[in-house]
């Protein structure tokens, strides 16, 4: 009977468990879970603050998930070392787990840059885990003034979650625009307007020079007084276990299309990994839930002796703020691609074309059937095969050839 060990208990781990079980009903699966709770929907922590979901509904899988899949979960335990030669994982309590196949699904951690005086701030939070969510939920009240450092996805979703529950929210970021990793200036503008309209104060192109207890002195010279501080500057892949064991890492654990690391029988999946973004051919950390699940599943199947590849990863996000919806996928770089723009009712669509293919897109407001665009990127469809003039205006499969439509709609897919 094969022994499987999974380090981590998030979405990638759930995918890994289901992948293993699709190919091996018998093997022993041990899950090392630093968080003392079953897998939950991590991206929903802001929705909880907002009151749009509950802890119970945040369960990613039914209560009997581990039992049904024959997994032993070691809650509150942390893996400290991988011995790739002897195929063991050492835990923080000194115990050693032997494995035949290992999946590192260790996720990412908040990256906290050095801020002068940060240690003087009493109420400071990250916003990554359910524990963070409960801590912030308990600390926030109608009198709270909140400063969020970082106007990325995490910082802004946190702002939305707290909106209406606290007295004021200020979000600052060193970048000149919000969501700088997925939007350019003109696409970010309507998002910024929407946030401001909802009372979120934005301080862009500046960060905190130093903290003095409940006051932030900004790099621009101003000050912000706050009761609660949320640090959402960025995240770092938890890749040290693999690099310490001699495996290849860069900004994340390097994996191939079968989720193999450079170490034998060691696989990795999810936010801790770095893999090929097929929209630009470069290796990237693509820390999004769909990739985590798909990579985890792929790793699991291969760990169990099956053969699954995942070679269609692209960065993509679907995110809304106060009813304004934003979608983006692929590589959106104006420098080396042709950019086409369409204005829509209250929003815009922007397409980035490269080498006769769709490399990326951004939609602000109006997202109907956007997956048709995403599929063009994922499938590397030559645009000569579709009616892109039509697609630009409306995402419709009517823009595909009759032959392609027959394949898509005429049989089991």
């Amino acid at each position: 009977m094969k022994k499987y060990v999974i380090i981590g208990n998030g979405t990638a781990a759930a995918g890994c468990i289901e992948g293993i079980r699709s190919a091996d009903a018998e093997g022993a699966i041990t899950v090392v879970s630093e968080e003392r709770r079953p897998v939950y929907c991590r991206p929903l922590i802001s929705y909880f603050l907002e009151g749009k979901t509950t802890q119970e509904k945040m369960n990613y899988r039914p209560d009997d998930f581990y039992e049904k899949n024959g997994c032993e979960v070691l809650y509150g335990r942390r893996a400290v070392r991988i011995d790739a030669e002897h195929k063991t994982v050492t835990l923080d309590d000194g115990a050693a787990l032997a494995y035949d196949a290992l999946c590192v699904a260790s996720g990412s951690s908040p990256f906290v840059p050095r801020f002068e005086g940060l240690e003087t701030v009493k109420n400071r939070f990250s916003f990554m885990t359910m524990d963070d969510m409960f801590a912030l939920d308990a600390a926030a009240d109608e009198k709270s003034r909140v400063l969020i450092v970082g106007a990325g996805l995490i910082g802004l979703k946190c702002a939305e979650g707290l909106h209406g529950r606290v007295a004021e929210i200020t979000v600052c970021d060193l970048a000149p625009r919000v969501l700088s990793s997925i939007l350019d200036d003109s696409a970010a503008a309507p998002v910024e307007e929407c946030l401001k309209r909802n009372g979120i104060r934005l301080m862009l192109s500046e960060s905190v020079a130093r903290f003095e207890e409940n006051r932030a002195v900004m790099t621009g010279g101003g000050t912000v007084d706050f009761d609660l501080l949320v640090l959402a500057v960025g995240v770092r892949a938890n890749s040290a276990l693999v690099s310490d064991a001699g495996g290849e890492t860069d900004r994340g654990i390097v994996v191939d299309h079968r989720m193999r690391t450079s170490l034998p029988e060691v696989f990795a999946a999810g936010d801790c990994t770095e893999s090929e973004d097929i929209s630009c051919g470069k290796r990237k950390v693509m820390a999004i839930l769909p990739n985590a699940y798909i990579q985890g599943h792929c790793a699991g199947v291969n760990m169990a002796g099956g053969d699954e590849t995942f070679d269609k990863a692209v960065p993509m996000n679907s995110i809304g703020f106060f009813g304004l919806h934003i979608m983006s996928a692929g590589t959106c770089s104006a420098e080396d691609s042709e950019v086409l723009e369409e204005k829509t009712d209250g929003g815009l669509k922007r397409f980035y074309l490269k080498d006769g293919r769709l490399a990326g897109y951004i939609l602000v407001g109006g997202a109907e059937r956007a997956g048709i665009y995403t599929s063009l990127i994922r499938e590397r469809t030559p645009l000569s095969e579709v009616d892109f003039e039509l697609l630009k205006k409306t995402a419709t499969t009517a823009a595909f050839s009759p032959e392609t439509r027959r394949k898509k709609f005429g049989g089991v897919v």
């Binding site: 899988r61 679907s318 809304g320 499938e379 419709t396």
Partner: protein, 142 residues
């Protein structure tokens, strides 16, 4: 497994399937109460250009990317049918971002809905199929 298929040569573009779908999933006793004077949010929709028209609903993919991508764990595959737990859905539209067929759309409240082959409502078989006047939509094993 039986799925819904459409023959685009036979589709008249009459949109009746959209109304039958909205009615079938309304839980109301008659079509007028269910639909009259209200915006409808069917789980099937007609796509058309100047030459052709055809109905699109969930393909119930064998390897469903929407299920794998759902950030709320609200989508699942049950005996081959892709089903949604609308209580868990938070309306993030990630499924819309990934579905290559454009087969998911939110209802009027922003909660996602999708074709579940009328297996859970009173029809018992797809209302779009039973009501299609030209038999362009069929429910069969392929």
């Amino acid at each position: 497994m039986k799925r819904v298929y459409v023959n685009e040569e036979w589709c008249l573009g009459c949109h009746l399937c959209e109304y039958n779908c909205a009615f079938a999933n309304s839980g109301k006793p008659d079509m007028a109460t269910a639909l009259k004077g209200k915006p409808i949010y069917p789980r099937i929709h007609i796509e058309e250009n100047d030459k052709i028209s055809y109905a699109v609903s969930c393909r119930h993919c064998t390897d469903p990317i929407c299920v794998k991508s759902c950030i709320a764990g609200a989508l699942r595959q049950e005996d081959g049918v892709i089903r949604i737990d609308r209580e868990k859905c938070v309306g993030c539209l990630t499924c819309v971002l990934v579905c290559p067929y454009g087969a998911l759309a939110p209802d009027g409240d922003g909660v996602m809905q999708k074709c579940e082959l009328c297996l859970q409502n009173s029809c018992g078989e797809p209302a779009c199929v039973t009501g299609c006047p030209n038999r362009a939509i069929v429910y069969e094993e392929r």
